[in-house]
C-alpha cells in the first residue's frame, strides 16, 4: 500500500463530490506507481462525474495545474514521475468556472 494525499482546488473539487482533500492508499501493483497510473486511478475511484472535465486523453485537461509536493509537475517529469510514500499531489483548475 502507498499512502498519499490528493487535493483538488480551483473548481476541480466539484468533480469529486466537493471534497478538496483525499487521503488515499494506492493498492500494490507490480510496476512502480507513476502519475500516469494515478490519473487513471483517480478517474476510477475519486472522480464522481464528468471525467472528461478532468482527463483529456491520458493526461489532465489543459488548464489544470499539477503540483507534486508543492512543486510544478513539469520539474518532476510530469506523467513519468514515480510516486513516493506520503506524496502530496495537488490539482488546481485555472479554468473559468472550474
Amino acid at each position: 500500500m502507498l499512502p498519499i494525499t490528493v487535493e483538488f482546488s480551483g473548481g476541480a473539487e466539484l468533480l469529486c463530490g466537493n471534497v478538496k482533500k483525499h487521503d488515499v492508499e494506492l493498492p500494490k501493483q507490480d510496476t512502480k506507481w507513476q502519475i500516469r497510473n494515478l490519473l487513471v486511478w483517480i478517474k476510477d475511484h475519486i472522480i464522481q462525474e464528468r471525467p472528461e472535465l478532468f482527463l483529456v486523453g491520458n493526461t489532465v485537461r489543459p488548464g489544470i495545474l499539477v503540483l507534486i509536493n508543492d512543486a510544478d509537475w513539469e520539474l518532476m517529469g510530469e506523467l513519468d514521475y514515480e510516486i513516493q510514500e506520503k506524496d502530496r499531489i495537488v490539482f488546481i483548475s485555472t479554468l473559468h468556472g472550474g
Partner: protein
C-alpha cells in the same frame, strides 16, 4: 497529444539563482520561490508603471470577486503598499465585491460559507470594502447626464437622479445576515428569469459580463472613483480576444483586452495583471499561501462546448499546453490593433462600446439584416410576436422603478437593438422575455439615444428647409 516532451526541465534549477526550482513558467524557465516572487511583482508593477495612468495618491476601486486572479491581485497590491516593498505603490485602494450567487439560484449553506470567506478576505486586507449584488442591476438607474459628470456626488443627489446602487460597507461587526439584506429575493428571481430568457449560454455569459461592468461603473461613479482595477490574466485575455472575434465583437477587442478601457466615460478600467498568465497567478497563490474562493459560474460543470467562450478556452489552453507561447502571441498581436474612436462615435446602449453598426449596405452586417428581414416576411407567425414586442412600456409595466417610467416610453425591441453594437444585438437575438425585465439602465440609455437620433434627423430636416431647398437626397 503531446508534441514534445520537455525533458530538460526535469529537476531544473532556478534560472536566476540556481536554487531548486518550484515551477516552470515562460517557455521552460524554472524559478525558485523568491525569484518567482520578484518576477511576478515586477510584471505587476511594470504594468502599472508603464501605463502611467494612476496619479500619485489617487484612490482606485478594486473589483474583487474572491477568485484566484483577484485574490492574487489584492495580495500584490497589499504587498506593494506595505513598507517592505522598496518602492511603494502610490494609490489607495477600495475593494468592491459583486455577489453573483443569485444567478445560480441556490441559497444554500455552502454559499453562505463562500460569501463569508470572501468577506473575511476583504476584511483581512484592511482596505475599505463594499459589497453589492448583481441582482440590483434590475432596479438601478443610471443617469449619464448628471451621474457621470459629478464625481463624489452624495447619495441624496443620486436619489433625485434615479435609484442608487445599494453598497454595503463591510466592517468587522456586521454579521453574515446583513449581506443578504441588501436586496430582495424577488430581484434575484427577476434577474434569473431575464438571464434565462436570453436563450443560449454564450449570450448569457456575455450579458452578465456587460452587466457586471456596468455595475462597476455605476458603483465607481457613486463612490467617486475614476479608475477600476480588474484582474484579467493574459490567458483570460487571449480567450477573450478569440471569443470576442467569434461573437462579432471584433471592433471591441482592443478595449476589452488592453491595459486600459476608457469606453465608460469618466470611469476607466485598468488591468494590472494582464501580463501574467493563469498558471503564474495560480502558482503565486499556492506558493505564497494566498487565500482565494472558488466562485462557480453558469458554465461550471457544463460540457466543454457549452458556450463560445468555454469552447475557446479549451482551444487556447489546449494549444498553450503544447506551445507555451500561444497566449502571449495572441495577446501581443491584439495589442497592435488600433483603438476605435471613442469620443466621436455613438455608444452601444448596453456595453458602451463605440457603435460598429453604421456599416455600408454591402457589408456583412447589411447582409445579415437583409436576410433577417426576408425571413420575417416569410413567417406570418411573427406578426404576433412583433405585436408583443411592440407593446410600449407604460407605467404599469415599470412599476418597480417609478422614477424613470416616463423616460422609457415607447422602446421596442427593434428600436432597442438599433442602439446597440453588433455583439450586443447578437446576445439579445434569442431574447424572448418582456422588455420591461431588462435593466432600466439599458432601456433608459436606449430611449435617450433614440430620442437623440430623432432630434438629429429632425434638425437635419429643418436645416434642409432653411438652407438648401430643392436638394432632397439627403433627407432620406
Amino acid at each position: 497529444m503531446q508534441f514534445y516532451i520537455n525533458t530538460d526541465v526535469v529537476g531544473a534549477k532556478c534560472v536566476k539563482c540556481g536554487a531548486p526550482g518550484v515551477l516552470v513558467t515562460r517557455i521552460h524557465d524554472a524559478f525558485c520561490k523568491s525569484c518567482f516572487q520578484v518576477y511576478v511583482v515586477h510584471k505587476f508593477r511594470s504594468a502599472i508603471g508603464k501605463s502611467k495612468l494612476i496619479r500619485d495618491g489617487e484612490a482606485v476601486l478594486v473589483a474583487f470577486s474572491g477568485g484566484t486572479n483577484s485574490s492574487a491581485m489584492l495580495h500584490l497590491i497589499k504587498d506593494g503598499l506595505s513598507l517592505r516593498a522598496h518602492k511603494k505603490l502610490r494609490f489607495t485602494p477600495t475593494l468592491l465585491h459583486i455577489d453573483e450567487t443569485c444567478l445560480l439560484g441556490s441559497e444554500s449553506l455552502e454559499w453562505k460559507v463562500k460569501q463569508n470567506q470572501v468577506k473575511n478576505i476583504m476584511l483581512d486586507s484592511g482596505f475599505p470594502s463594499y459589497w453589492t449584488q448583481l441582482e440590483q442591476s434590475v432596479m438601478i438607474q443610471k443617469d449619464h447626464a448628471s451621474g457621470m459628470s459629478n464625481k463624489g456626488e452624495s447619495a441624496a443627489d443620486y436619489e433625485r437622479n434615479g435609484t442608487p446602487l445599494l453598497l454595503h460597507y463591510i466592517s468587522g461587526k456586521s454579521g453574515m445576515t446583513d449581506l443578504s439584506l441588501v436586496s430582495s429575493s424577488e430581484d434575484a428571481g427577476k434577474l434569473r428569469d431575464l438571464v434565462r430568457s436570453l436563450g443560449n449560454l454564450t449570450a448569457q455569459e456575455n450579458f452578465i459580463q456587460n452587466l457586471r461592468n456596468q455595475m462597476l461603473v455605476q458603483a465607481a461613479c457613486q463612490l467617486g472613483f475614476s479608475k477600476v482595477l480588474t484582474a484579467e490574466n493574459s490567458t483570460h485575455l487571449a480567450i477573450r480576444i478569440l471569443s470576442d472575434i467569434a461573437q462579432g465583437r471584433g471592433s471591441q477587442v482592443s478595449l476589452d483586452t488592453g491595459i486600459s478601457d476608457e469606453r465608460n466615460g469618466e470611469v476607466m478600467f485598468m488591468r494590472p495583471v494582464r501580463e501574467l498568465n493563469a498558471k503564474e497567478l495560480a502558482m503565486y497563490n499556492t506558493v505564497f499561501g494566498v487565500e482565494s474562493v472558488f466562485i462557480p459560474t453558469l458554465s461550471t460543470m457544463t460540457p466543454l462546448a457549452s458556450s463560445i467562450e468555454r469552447l475557446t478556452e479549451s482551444f487556447v489552453t489546449g494549444l498553450q499546453a503544447d506551445f507555451p507561447s500561444t497566449v502571449s502571441n495572441i495577446v501581443r498581436t491584439s495589442g497592435k490593433l488600433g483603438l476605435p474612436d471613442i469620443k466621436k462615435s455613438d455608444k452601444c446602449s448596453f456595453c458602451q462600446s463605440p457603435l460598429d453598426t453604421n456599416a455600408k449596405k454591402n457589408s456583412a452586417l447589411g447582409a445579415v439584416l437583409f436576410s433577417q428581414q426576408l425571413s420575417k416576411v416569410a413567417q406570418p407567425v411573427d406578426n404576433f410576436q412583433a405585436k408583443k414586442l411592440h407593446t410600449p412600456l407604460t407605467e404599469e409595466t415599470n412599476q418597480s422603478s417609478p422614477g424613470a417610467a416616463h423616460d422609457i416610453a415607447f422602446v421596442n425591441l427593434h428600436e432597442l437593438k438599433e442602439t446597440m453594437c453588433y455583439g450586443c444585438r447578437l446576445s439579445l437575438h434569442a431574447f424572448d422575455g418582456d422588455l420591461s425585465s431588462l435593466p432600466p439602465s439599458i432601456t433608459k440609455t436606449a430611449s435617450s439615444s433614440i430620442r437623440e437620433r430623432q432630434r438629429r434627423q429632425l434638425s437635419g430636416f429643418l436645416l434642409e428647409q432653411d438652407y438648401s431647398v430643392g436638394d432632397d437626397d439627403s433627407i432620406s
